[in-house]
Symmetry: C2
Subunit: 118 residues, 2 copies
DNA sequence: CAGAATCCGGTCAGATACTG
DNA sequence: CAGTATCTGACCGGATTCTG
């Protein structure tokens, strides 16, 4: 391996997968929703709304749709009266667990650092 | 360990570190900037701008400031003519490597899945 | 219960131009 | 080179109301 300068072009290649991932998980809510679904295994709309603190019906609905399109979350309609809806994480969504764990761990350490300061 | 229902309140506790982390890395650019700085070790404003594709001076400047405040990035002014500025990732910023790696890995797998489909 | 519809302000962020 | 300044449209997302 010869030593040479790194270029923006090479860097872009390294960066692309990260950009792809960010595109999908972008925003304030998606990661939180997935985390909650991992926690509960399955979940109603109402429970999701109570668990993702601060989210509105509108946002929750919108984000769930986008997660469904990307096949990270699945929505099951059960034919009861009134209908029951269950949200569940898909195996593909499950594959983002490493991301959630990394975010979680960093947050725990961050909190230690911040609290240690004050 | 006794078996019992999970509650939104417990869930919130689990979610908090994730929320903390998201607060800091939120947005389209911060993760990308950190990734680039990890790649180069140190970096000028110009090189950063060329490497984070699509970012404007304004956004780059703003995001760098926020990253500095959170001590993820440091800015060194070298007294030359004209002055040289170097951006570098801090050890604390370095601690987010696991997050970047998780995002990168997921992006690589995601691309395989998407391309396999078309 | 599980959302859809509407209204609406704020801020985000892009384009462009400019500075020491 | 390393940013700042200004302008502007887009859209994010909150509050509220309504529905089957």
């Amino acid at each position: 391996m010869e030593k040479r300068y790194k270029t923006p072009k090479e860097c872009l290649g390294k960066l692309m997968p990260v950009r792809d991932t960010l595109d999908i998980f972008q925003g304030k809510w998606k990661i939180q929703i997935i985390s909650v679904l991992m926690y509960y295994d399955e979940c109603s709309f109402k429970l999701l709304k109570e668990s993702v603190k601060g989210i509105t019906s509108k946002m929750l609905s919108k984000e769930l749709k986008e997660l469904e399109v990307n096949q990270l979350v699945e929505r099951e309609v059960i034919d009861t009266r009134p209908v029951t809806i269950r949200y569940r994480i898909t195996p593909y969504g499950e594959s983002s667990r490493d991301i959630i764990i990394a975010l979680y761990n960093w947050g725990v350490e961050h909190r230690k650092k911040i609290i240690g300061k004050e």
